[in-house]
Amino acid sequence: MRHSLTLRIGPATFRIGSAWAQPIDQLARLYADYPDVDGAIADFTVRLQPTSAVRRWVRPSIFITGDHGLADAAPMSLAHGLLAAEMGMNLQMALGWRRHLLLHASSVEKDGRVLVMTGESGSGKSTLAAQLGERGWRLMGDEFALLDLDSGAILPFPRLVSLKNKAIDVIAGEVPAARMGPLLGATAKGDIRHMVPRADAVARMGEGGMPALLLFPRFGSGPAERPVGQGEVFMRLTQASTNYVALGEPGFAALTRFVAQVPARAIDFPSGEAAIAMVDRLWSEIA
């Protein structure tokens, strides 16, 4: 492919090829402080290719694929090329990663212990993790938490944080402009802007921690809090994992251990400040 870049995020290495320069240039800027792995052997190949030959030039349209792809993935406009590259990497992880149990969850660490937050898109888990990451916690990831199959530790996957709609202004007010990506307007998920995690999150991206608390956050009501039974936790985490079935028995062993050992709470919160207060209180009580 004409333009390419190799990136390492946590334990995974990606070779990203693109028919256009723009997505690669944007990635290079935002991932500039990540380890230099130019020319390394990659775990995954990501391809951003034209949906047809003419679409390289005329109303350029990106088809996201790679080692693992979805035949019916919707094409994206070149203006959203950075998002396409991020989605391409997520797709490889979701479909192809086998070295950890992958949980669709954000995670932050303090004193070597990890808070895991999982929920649907729009639950606020990503924004909450980003905010905590600016307030004394180490951001480990906003999208995937990696559960180690042997040790039971959570390992970081600190890719760019993907902020959506209202969360953009909330976070952009707190972090320097140099750590913010371009505003991608009117994507399929609304407005999106990427944020580079703090330097310590990147520097310590090989360093995991034991999970101490699992939260199911939900933005929009409350504040309210309830304990969650292990059966429900197990079921929700299997649904939040893209590789639970593919891992087979080791995945079962790791997830049942996690569920049996990590206390879980569902929290409803009306605002970011309320959520942070609830997290602080639960962390001091339980974790």
């Binding site: 059966g231 299997t238 028995e249 079962f252 049996a260």
Partner: protein, 94 residues
């Protein structure tokens, strides 16, 4: 009972049992499937641990020694559980 179905449990190496606080998880190695079950399914499987053929009536008798089974069509209920367990491969017709 004449004509009653007999089943035997799959070998112990085929099924991993993990009780959580409110449910029991069964991981079935040959299919790679995880099943979430509640009482009386784990108890039924326990009483079949010897791997020998058993019918719903026999299992009712064994379970009655350990638990208060109450009123109603217990044999019919156990029979339905056995049919379900057969479908997901945890027991086989003997």
């Amino acid at each position: 009972m004449v004509g009653e179905e007999f089943y035997r449990r799959e070998g112990a190496e085929a099924i991993i049992v993990r009780p959580l606080d409110d449910i029991v998880l069964l991981y079935h190695r040959p299919s790679g499937q995880t099943h979430m079950v509640i009482s009386p399914v784990p108890e039924i499987l326990d009483t079949m641990a010897d791997g020998l053929p058993a019918s719903a009536t026999m299992l009712r008798d064994r379970l009655a020694l350990l638990y208060d089974l109450g009123e109603g069509d217990v044999v019919g209920e156990i029979g339905q559980h056995l049919a379900y367990l057969d479908r997901i491969g945890l027991v086989r017709p003997a």
